[in-house]
Structures are given as C-alpha cells and as structure tokens.
C-alpha cells in the first residue's frame, strides 16, 4: 500500500498529529493578539470605549429662571426639541413627510421644499412642543420614523412678552446667555457641570446610576424689578412714545431708601439694551437740583439769598451771553430759580460754589463712575477734571450742560436727596436662589456715602416741592401726595457745534411722597419729534407712573389736608 517513492510516507496517525499541531497555531496567534490588545492597547482602547459609552449630561440641564421680586416668572427655560431629517436613512419619503406634516405646524409642501433644497441632513422644525415630541418619539424606532432625529434644545420663554426684555436679555437654544442679565449671570444660571458623566445606551437612552445623583446647582435669579411696576412704567412710556415720537424713552423707578430699582423701561425695547444704564446724556435743568443742593450743602449760598438776574442777559464771559426768557424778574430766590428753571441763576450759583467744590460734589453723587450694578455696556458718563474747566464750563455745568450722566446715576442722586443725604448702592438683582438651597442675597441696602447734610436735603425737598406746586412741574401733582421734582428740557449738541433747538431731551426727575419718599422716578424722552418741554411731556408721565405705584403699594397720602382742599374746590 505504501508508495515507495513518495518522500512523505503515508501515515494517518502522523498526519493527524501534524494537523493537530497546525490547528494549535491559530489559538496561539489568538492568545498573542489578545495579550497585545488587552495589555498594550488597554489604555488607548478603554479610553476610546469610555468616550463612546459615557457622555456628559451638560446639555440636559434647564437654565435657571429669572423672576421678579415677587416670584413672577420673567424668563424661564423649557425643554424643546428640534426635528431633523437624515435623508439617507429615510425608508419611505412620502409616508415620513406626510407624518411630519400631520404633526408639525407646517404644510407638506414646505417640508418637501426643504427636502429638495437642503443637503443630506436638515432641520425641519425647531422648538417642538412636548406633545408633538412624544408623537414623533413614538415612531422613532419604527420604519416610519427612520431617518428622523430629535435634538434636545431649550427655549427661553418670557411669559410677559417683551416686558423687561431690555434688562433680561436673551439666551439661545443651547442655554447660553447672549445679552443683558442672561449674559451677566450666565454662570449662575447655567452652572458648569461638565465633570458629571452618565452611562448611556444607544438611541440616547441614559442608564441611571446611583453614583450620578442629580446635583442641581443652577440658580434662579430674583430681580428687584417688580413686574407690575415695570408694566406701569412700560405702559406709560409706550403712550409717551406714541404721543411725542421720541428717538428714545427711558423710565427708571428706584426705591430711595434701599437703592432697589423697581422698574427700568426703555424704548425702543431690545434685548440687552437697557438704556437706563447704557444711555449717557446731558441732563439739562434736572441737574440744577444737584448743583444747587451742592451749593446749599457747602454753604456757598443759603435759601434766603436772592440772586441778581442781570436783566436776564448775563454775560458769563466775553461774547458768551445767557438769556432767561421764561420770566421777567430782576432777582430770584433759589426756590424761584428752580421753579422757573433759570439758567442764569443756576450758573451764578455754580460760580459761587466754585469748580473744585462742584466737582467734589459731582463725584460724591457718583457721576462719572459706573454703578456697581455693572450692567453690560453700562456707561460711566463723563465728568471732565475741574482743572480744565473755564468759567463758562463751570456756569454751564450749573444748569446741566457739559456733563454726561446715565439715568441710573441721576436717579441715585435724587434718591440721595429723598432719603436724607445718602448715596445708596443701586440694586437690580435681589437674590440668587440655588437649587441646593443656598441663597445669595445681593440687594442688601448699602450706603455708599453721605453726600448731603440732612438739613440740606430738607431744604431741597421744600424747593423741589415748590417746583411742582408753583413752578414748571405742576403737571406732576398728585392730590394728597407731596411730590418733589424738577423738569428738564435740554438742547443737544448739534453736529455743527453749539446747541440746537430742534434736538433736545425732555425729562423729569422726582420723588414722592415727600415725607418718607418711596419712589424716585426719572422720565427721559430723547429727541421727541414734536417739540415739547419737560413740564408738559415728562411731568404727566411721572404722575401716571407714580399714581400706579402708590396705588399698588398702598402708600397712604402724606398730605391729606390738600386732598380735603381739592375736594372743597371741586364742590
């Protein structure tokens, strides 16, 4: 049987043994390969596996809310989803499109158009509401839903519409603040939680693990803004904008005793464009209050002094002549200077006070420096160093020209007069409440410094009350309540230099009630198309807003005797 010439002598057992040995080579190779993969490549591959299995839950966290002082929602985040289509994986185009058309608020034609125009992956709809989301999600695993993709997103909702939007700002669908408070407090509203990770299965399922406890540290921000006060301010401003068509309009309401800002309305209302902090302007006559208060406080003048009007044509410096056209008096008391808003009087008082002192008082009132609110894009105004002031500069600063203020600075200064001489730190954020129970109180009443003596403030209150009772601010009167305030009508610097009549700022700043003031209100209408004055346009707005606030807060009349007189008059 054996072929003699065959060098491989046939032997079944030997061949079996050979085969057996040959078959032991693969397991050897497998063993070596396994050893290589599981020891040398271990770090690399297990890192990659970790990255594939675990993902960070950073996305799955709702942004904190922004609420008003009473806990009304001003801005809140809601989970939504955007629905995308991955064309390549869609099984039945027709069925899928008609399914989407049924559930999404968009016609079939539009989806088909998108399908044609866009590339392989495109978003059909964003901000899908939960009900629709559930419907789409239920078909995701079925053939109908193949190729559909739901990406979690966040919608920032403002229940009160655009109310206070200028302060709040906007946040995008990825939970990032873009402007206003959303940007300023982005960290507090969306805590960085990228270190937490979660095991997930495919299709976005998250496998809960005890070690991955929900650790919420996102904060809710409570503002000092009162939604109702804000509404009053905005409603009044909207009406004024309708009537006078100003380029900009601002209303700021502050509580003088604490510095809290109750409302800050801007027109036009754009997210993050809170003009109360960002708008710097020449205040005009409303600034006379500041210069005269400073003069009284320093003792440069006293309330009994009469100021000579120089025949209502005062040559401050050669070829610089100031005129008072609104009165025919030869000399005026300080109260009358305020009531008639005499530029000559205010200028003379400023000269009396001197540049160094006026500068000192302006700095003490906080002009030329940012408030600690530090709102995005907040302006610090502009006050030139006194060493550079000429006599004309000094006189014109007395009646509010040549100095740039922000509304919040002016309001705080008036509040200082209202509250007995203290410059209070203005507050916009009341507190931040974190989900873990921690509360960060921000709006503690904080006296920055004493600016005026208490006696001076008493004198100023009387003068300002006189302005409203007898002077230019008559239309701000509220029966039964003492109102102190000052109107302002300032011409703006035109492009040619000098002051143009046509470009002007109309304003009113005041507080009420006079005994124990509760609200300091500043109204600014910048550059109204219809020419108007602080007394005619801004003062009534003050009345409107103040009445609303007094009603809302239930403030008792501080001058009930006037109420009786007014009633008697009517009869």
């Amino acid at each position: 049987m054996l072929p003699k010439k065959n060098p491989f002598a046939f032997n079944a057992k030997a061949r079996m043994k050979l085969c057996g040995f040959l078959c032991l080579i693969p397991p050897l190779a497998i063993g070596i390969r396994l050893f290589y993969m599981q020891t040398f490549l271990y770090d690399e591959l297990s890192n990659k596996a970790d990255r594939a299995i675990y993902n960070f839950l950073k996305e799955d966290r709702l942004r904190g809310q922004i609420l008003d002082v009473n806990g009304n929602y001003l801005a809140e985040s809601v989970r939504t989803h955007s629905c995308g289509i991955n064309k390549r994986y869609v099984k039945d185009k027709e069925a899928t499109i008609s399914f989407l058309a049924e559930n999404l608020p968009m016609p079939k034609r539009e989806i088909e158009k998108l399908w044609k125009e866009k590339g392989n992956f495109f978003f059909v709809a964003k901000k899908i509401k939960p009900d629709v989301y559930m419907k789409i999600r239920s078909v995701l695993r079925k053939p109908l839903g193949q190729g559909l993709d739901l990406t979690p997103e966040y919608e920032r909702i403002h229940p009160y519409g655009t109310s206070a939007l200028d302060i709040l700002g906007e946040a995008n669908s990825k939970n990032k603040g873009l402007s206003g408070l959303e940007l300023m407090y982005n960290d507090e509203l969306s805590q960085d939680i990228s270190k937490r990770r979660a095991k997930r299965a495919r299709r976005g399922e998250v496998i809960y693990d005890r070690s991955l406890k929900e650790e919420k540290s996102v904060g809710n921000i409570y503002l000092t803004i009162d939604a109702l006060a804000q509404h009053y301010a905005e409603a009044a401003l909207d009406k004024a904008v309708q009537d006078y068509e100003p380029e900009r309009g601002i209303i700021v309401v502050q509580e003088p005793s604490t510095g809290r800002i109750l409302a800050a309305a801007s027109s036009p209302r754009e997210d993050g464009q809170a003009l109360a902090f960002q708008f710097a302007y020449e205040p005009g006559s409303t600034f006379k209050t500041i210069s005269i208060a400073s003069a009284l406080d320093s003792g440069a003048v006293s309330t009994e002094d009469m100021i000579d009007m120089d025949g209502r044509k005062w040559e401050v410096a050669p070829r610089v002549v100031l005129q008072d056209k609104q009165h025919k008096e030869e000399e005026l008391s300080i109260a009358d200077i305020m009531a008639l808003s005499s530029n000559i009087g205010a200028g003379k008082i400023a000269l009396e006070l001197g540049s160094k002192n006026l500068f000192y008082y302006m700095k003490a009132f906080g002009f030329g420096t940012k408030t600690d609110i530090n709102f995005n894009g907040e302006s610090k105004g502009s006050v030139a160093p006194y060493s550079k002031w000429t006599k004309v500069d000094l006189a014109s600063k007395g009646y509010g020209y040549g100095v740039l203020l922000t509304p919040i600075q002016l309001v705080s200064a008036y509040s200082a007069i209202a509250n007995g001489g203290y410059l209070m730190q203005p507050h916009l954020v009341d507190r931040i409440e974190y989900a873990n129970g921690k509360v960060d109180k921000k709006a503690k009443p904080q006296k920055i410094r004493r600016v005026l003596k208490e006696s001076t403030t008493e004198q100023m209150k009387e003068i300002l009350e006189y302005v409203v009772v007898e002077g230019s601010g008559k239309r701000a009167q509220i029966p039964g309540y003492g109102v102190a305030g000052k109107t302002g009508t300032a011409e703006k610097v035109s492009k040619e230099g000098g002051y143009a009549k046509r470009l002007h700022v109309v304003s009113f700043c005041g507080f009420t009630p006079i005994k124990d003031p509760r609200f300091t209100i500043l109204i600014i209408l910048d550059n109204p198309k219809k020419y108007t004055f602080g007394g005619t346009a801004a003062a009534p707005i003050f009345k409107q807003v103040a009445e609303g606030l007094l009603t809302m807060y239930g403030v008792a009349p501080d001058q009930p005797e006037k109420l009786v007189q007014a009633d008697a008059k009517k009869k």
């Binding site: 049987m1 072929p3 085969c19 032991l24 594939a52 299995i53």
Partner: protein
C-alpha cells in the same frame, strides 16, 4: 510533544501499526453484545463546561436587551443535550442502516429551500420554522464531515494513487459549498474547505493533488470577493476598523473597544458596557468580544485553552480509533468545532475578516447550539464504540463465547 495527542487514548489501545488504521470495522465485535452506556468522561466534562458557561455568557450578552434569548437558548441546549445523549449511544448503529449520501441529499434540500425564503438582513440563511429558525448551513457542516469520512473510509488507501478518487467527495462538497455560498455566506464554506482538506490529507491524499486543489480554489475565492462588493468592503474594514468605524468597520471597531477595555481581568461578569445596545450582534457573532470585556485576558485564555483541550482530546481519540470511518469522523468533527471557534475568535480580534461565524457553545442560535451538541454526541459515540471494541481481551473472549452459542 509526541505524547500530546496520544497520552489519553493510550490506555485503551495497543498502538497498532499504520495499517491498523484501515482495519475493517472495529465496532463489529461490540455490536452484538448487551448494550452498555457509552461515555467519554473528559469529552462530557468539556461539553458540560461549555454548555454551562455558554449559557452564562449568552445571558450576559443578551439579557440587557431581552431575556427571551436566554430562555430560548436553554431550550436549544436541552434539545441539543438530549440529541447528543441519544446519538452518543446509538449513532454508529443507526449509521449502518443507510448511506451518508442520503444525509447530503437532505442537506441539499434544506440548502435549496433556504434560498427561497424571505431574506433576513439581506441573506438567505434561515428557514423559519415557527418557534425557531433553522440554519441549514449548520446541518451541512455535520453531514458533509460524515459523508466525506464515510467515503474516505471506504476508499481507504487508494486515495493517493489516483486523483480521480478525490473527485467524488470534491464534487459533493463543491455542490454544498456553492449552495451555502449562494446564501450568501462565505465563512462556512471556507471553514469547511479547511476541514475537508485536512481530512483528505489525513486520509492519505497525494500532496500534489491537494496542492493543485488549493490552486484551483484561489480564483473561486477572488471571484467571490470581487463579485460581492460588500465582502470586499468587510474584508478591507478589518484591516483598519477605526478608519471605517462609521460604515463597514463599525462592528469591528466596537469589538476592538470591547476587547481592549477588558484588560487583564476584565470588568467583571455581567459588567460589559459595550453590550448596552452598542455592539451589534453581541450575543451571536461577537460574543467573544463581550467575553473578553467581562473576564479579561485571563478568562478568555481559559476559554481558548478549553477549545485546545477539546482539539487535543479529539485528535488523540481519532488517532486511537481503528475504524477509519470513525477515526476520520472524530477528527473532522473536532476540527470543525475548534476551527470554527478559532475562526470566530480571530474575527472578533481582527485577525480575520468578520464573516458571520458563530462561536460554538457560546453564541446564541438554535441551529448552531443543537448541531454543535450533535457533533459532540457523535464524537463521544464513535470514541466510545472504539473504546469498547478495544476493551481488554476477556470481554472479547466472552464475546466469542456468546457468539458461539
């Protein structure tokens, strides 16, 4: 080394000379005696270990998704064990009553039938039988080995003289391969071709013939690869799974992650993270990756060692058998199981292109489990028959006495 394949079988045998391999049916002596249970302790133990831990891993890799796989696997295992127990006692006796070519006819019937079924995942691989899907290619593995072994046992030593002697088994297995390949399934024919060549070699085929046979197979393989584009893609993807991770190499990429993240001792039984719906077919073709991830290098080396033990035990039993049909069957079936296992493992760790081959005993799948256990039953039966035939003389003596009566 020489002892590796003969030690265990030595007890029973007196080491016959090479011609003893072709001694006519050794079982005949035992056939007429009273029935005594046949059981090879070691093979049974290996099988038992495989079944037990196979179930554990099937459960581990599939239960997160659905526990029905596990319960079905238990049913399959039970059926398989029952079949194995039955065959381990009676297979040789049954086999005498018919020619194995009939097994091939039945197999071809199934293989043709499967081509007309609704494709699952683009391949005609399963016949839907209600409770479970029959996979004819699994049956083909057993029947082909049986047929070839039977044929080679018949032609005995004439094989190396005339290449025409090779024609019949080659034609039969060629038809089988083509039918399986039409499914399309390339892995099983490849595996079986390797087993076939080993059997031909062992049975004494001329080396030149085998060499030409190998040459002839090359164009077939190339044609298969080029004709079916996805095969080429899969083949290429195994070279660099990460680069193609988003498309064809996805499975393999994840398989690598699973294997690599196992480390020395693994993440612990049941702790696999890539089975959480990540690794596709984690409970069938890629169960080995999950095993690597869970029990680590040490654990899977034990599994590899078990398969090696099975291989060694099987080959030594084949060497001990004096009936060539039995010997070749034991050899062929052992090789089928072990090579399949190594093929699957190599595929999971990127040594071979992924080919849809199950890991015997571990992968979920009714046909695979049952047919693997059937193979074990046949091996045990033949080995036991041989052992009884070669039992000590006095039994032979009794035998003769009984026969004389």
């Amino acid at each position: 080394m020489k002892k590796l394949f003969s030690k265990s079988a030595k007890k029973h045998t007196f080491r016959p000379k090479q011609t003893a391999f072709f001694q006519p049916s050794a079982g005949r002596g035992a056939s007429r005696q009273e029935w005594t249970p046949i059981m090879d302790q070691k093979l049974a133990l290996i099988t038992f270990i495989f079944i037990c831990f196979g179930l554990v891993f099937t459960y581990s890799s599939s239960a997160f998704d659905s526990s029905s796989y596990f319960t079905r696997q238990i049913v399959f295992d039970t059926i398989g064990v029952a079949a194995a127990l039955f065959l381990s006692q009676f297979y040789v006796k049954i086999q005498r009553s018919f020619s194995p070519i009939w097994l091939m006819y039945i197999t071809w019937g199934f293989l043709i039938a499967v081509l007309f079924t609704k494709p699952i995942a683009n391949v005609h691989r399963w016949i839907d039988l209600g409770p479970f899907n029959l996979q004819p290619s699994e049956i083909a593995k057993v029947t082909l080995v049986l047929y070839v072994a039977h044929y080679l046992g018949q032609v005995q030593g004439k094989l190396n003289k005339n290449w025409k002697m090779l024609a019949k088994p080659l034609v039969v297995s060629g038809i089988t391969f083509v039918l399986i390949g039409l499914a399309p399934d390339l892995g099983t024919p490849l595996l079986m071709a390797a087993v076939l060549i080993a059997m031909l070699f062992v049975a004494g085929a001329n080396l030149k013939h085998l060499f030409f046979l190998g040459l002839a197979a090359v164009p077939v393989l190339l044609y298969q690869l080029l004709f079916y584009g996805y095969r080429l893609k899969r083949l290429l993807s195994f070279l660099d799974p990460e680069a193609t991770a988003s498309t064809t190499g996805y499975q393999l990429h994840l398989s690598f992650l699973a294997v690599g993240s196992g480390g020395w001792f693994g993440k612990g039984l049941g702790n696999s993270e890539l089975k959480l719906e990540y690794l596709p077919e984690a409970h069938t073709d890629f169960i080995f990756s999950i095993m690597c991830e869970e029990v680590g290098l040490i654990g899977v080396l034990c599994v590899v060692a078990l398969f090696c033990w099975l291989l060694i035990r099987g080959v030594s039993l084949a060497r001990a058998a004096r009936n060539s049909f039995h010997s070749l069957t034991i050899f062929g079936l052992t090789l089928t199981i072990c090579l399949q296992a190594f093929f699957n493992m190599g595929m999971a760790i990127g040594l071979l292109p992924p080919k849809g081959i199950a890991l015997p005993f571990f992968s979920y799948g009714g046909s695979s489990v049952i047919m693997t256990l059937v193979m074990m039953g046949i091996i045990i039966n033949m080995a036991g028959t041989e052992a009884q035939a070669q039992a000590p003389r006095h039994e032979d003596f009794t035998d003769f006495r009984n026969r004389n009566r």
